[in-house]
Symmetry: C2
Subunit: 417 residues, 2 copies
């Protein structure tokens, strides 16, 4: 017998949600296809006005789900008219039947919205290896296409939740050629659909008139310091999908059309996009399975940025570091261990480690001046900053993660009674 | 307040221990230096007859403990007369004071046994970042040198235990030029000394007359398929040390002296050494923190042996795979995920996955013929075999690991009250 994991609200959940106005050119509708249960919304349909450009970043998995393959192939043309996302079934490792399912869902959306099926983007999250029945989308997609209306980001975010304990939305404004444009995003994080794995989906929408090529460049860069800078358990889903849709509606209010990534007018937009991506990514960590602590790990003084990121990731993914944080212990010995195992250049005798503002290790040994009582007080906080200075060069990187608790093991191991 | 972890005996512990006869040329003594508590043995002294050669393999950490640096430097001459191992303090990340401590302990052993201090090998395991007081070894080392006697492998294994739940010993015989020689080993595994990390120490002893160079070659190769083929949590200690001592005493019974690794007379010895190393390594996994299941992961059909090992390790270190095994679920979707994230060549549509003898996935989809009831029965066993066939080439590798349980998190996170 399968038993549903019943997660309680993450203690790191936001206190309130921003009130996000509609993005011109974007309409949403949500409904239930009964993929997992009949009682909750499991399908999100987003419709975009003509002229919408799209960019995407996907899982690095060598075994991606069928919708990931679908999106990658459709991305080349850079145009989007719809997004269909479902929870409850990832349509991954489903062979030829899975490929056929993507084709059928896109065709249903194309017919319902009277658009080209090749401009329909797809994302699925949930159980893998189970065939996803495209028949469940019949009728529903038509209904959603008829109902779709502007705004409703919180409802859209809820429709893609699996065992996320809170919906994730983010919003920022930017100036493009002196005209205000908006960026709004939704994400689902490392929730679980028993009996399966964590999947990250994020969809970002803007009314800025930006062509697909510069959009792709900005999204790829932005992902590096947001979604590619977080980790819950080091595992990579088959279905991770980040899509950015730009309707261009702000051109009607005088925003200039941007064709190249090097355009200087993109400065404000780029910053706002990074803010939205970073905000969503951090929310995913804060809703990491069993998370009780939000941990920021900064490595500096590495021989390169790449090296700093590898070391920061080794610390962030170390079960011994993560369990120590769960136990509220500033166990810098485990940080030394993680630096050492990363395989990147490091000199034990130049290493300095700080928790918050307190330096605990310096020049290859314990910092004799640090106050254990102060460090202990710091470890009780919900947000922990760990800083490692390798003293070798100028490489710097930050990774966000959470602690490893018994709840993580329970959520991922106790799903059968 | 620190609270000691109180591990209960691993359910995977051996039913009985082999009765290991003394190795000629090796004497042991154990005692308490009061490093952690005054009530238990925390120091092992091994003395070797003149003419003993030595080989060693150490942690790949870029931040190794001072005893690791000491051994590496002394290994070049290939000769050993003593080993001093302690638990309770790893003498790692202890700066210049730690280097001085290694020098002083070796000098104490040299004086006590009237041997050259440069032929004393050292290994420490326990808390890191705490200075290790060499003064605690004064008097004790002299006493142990006077008491040292042949045999006593189980007592020696107990002296290096930290929170291991059982002592680890292994024994095998081989023929060298028609003469019987013996190999005996002891190891300590991924126990914890609150508040610190897992450390692996293993010491192997033989009476075979084998020079340092071939000994080193055999040990390095043997470590690849034993200690380098196990993982509990993917974390690498600063102190991992594997030493092999060959007294040569069997030459007195007619065993030929072996000077080169290519010598064909080594065939039987090599096999017996691999048996001892593999046995000890598997015992370490069976005593992994919180382990309830012993898991063998075999990857075949990879493009190379190296690629197969990277993929096997990605599966073995995946928290999602490990928690599923703890939950007794044959969650092959998570195995697909881990194959995909390894970054090595893999073709989703050629992938086959078996649990035990039951193939659950084939050609990129669920194997329609598999019986869930049979697989479920198999998952209740204490030993789980997972086999992944990539269908690409001839690369093959096996990694041994354990499941990830709430006890792991408790041992590594709950050590403070």
């Amino acid at each position: 017998m399968l038993r549903e994991a019943m997660p309680t609200l993450s203690p790191l959940a936001p206190q309130s949600y921003p009130d996000i106005p509609p993005i011109a050119g974007v309409r949403f509708a949500t409904g239930s296809a009964g993929i997992k249960t009949k009682t909750r919304a499991d399908v999100l349909l987003a419709l975009f006005d003509k002229g919408t450009s799209v960019a995407g970043v996907f899982t690095a998995s060598k075994c991606p789900g069928a919708p990931v393959d679908w999106c990658r192939a459709r991305l080349k043309r850079g145009r989007a008219r719809a997004l269909v996302a479902n929870s409850g079934n990832a349509n991954a490792f489903t062979g030829k039947a899975g490929v056929e399912t993507t084709r059928r869902i896109a065709a249903l959306a194309g017919a319902a919205a009277q658009i080209d099926a090749s401009e329909v983007f797809l994302a699925s999250t949930g159980v893998i290896g189970e065939p996803l029945d495209a028949g469940k989308f019949e009728g529903l997609i038509e209904k959603l296409a008829a109902e779709a209306s502007p705004g409703g980001f919180l409802a859209a975010a809820k429709a893609i939740m699996t065992t996320d304990t809170f919906p994730k939305v983010a919003y920022a404004k930017a100036l493009l050629g002196g005209v205000e444009v908006s960026i709004a995003g939704i994400a689902k994080g490392s929730g679980m659909i028993a009996p399966d794995m964590a999947t990250m989906l994020a969809f970002v929408f803007t009314d800025a008139p930006i062509a697909a090529a510069p959009l792709q460049e900005m999204l790829r860069r932005g992902a590096d310091t947001s979604f590619n800078a977080i980790t819950v358990d080091g595992d990579t889903s088959t279905s991770d999908t980040l899509l950015l849709f730009a309707t261009g509606a702000a051109a009607g209010r005088g925003a200039p059309k941007i064709a190249a990534a090097g355009d200087r007018r993109l400065q404000s937009f780029r910053a706002a996009l990074d803010e939205v991506l970073g905000d969503l990514a951090r929310q995913i960590v804060k809703d990491g399975e069993g998370a009780r602590k939000f941990v920021k790990i900064t490595v500096e003084g590495a021989v390169s940025k790449r090296s700093a990121k590898i070391i920061a990731r080794a610390i962030a993914n170390s079960p011994l570091v993560k369990t120590a944080i769960a136990g509220e212990d500033a166990n810098w010995g485990r940080v030394v261990m993680a630096v050492g195992k990363a395989g990147e250049p490091a000199d034990r005798d130049r290493l300095a480690i700080s928790f918050g503002d307190i330096r605990v290790a310096y020049k290859g040994a314990r910092d004799p001046s640090y106050d254990e009582v102060q460090v202990a007080a710091l470890m009780h906080r919900p947000e922990i900053d760990i800083r490692v200075d390798l003293g070798l060069g100028k490489g710097r990187a930050t990774i966000f993660t959470c602690d490893l608790t018994k709840e993580y093991v329970a959520i991922n191991g106790d799903y059968r009674s």
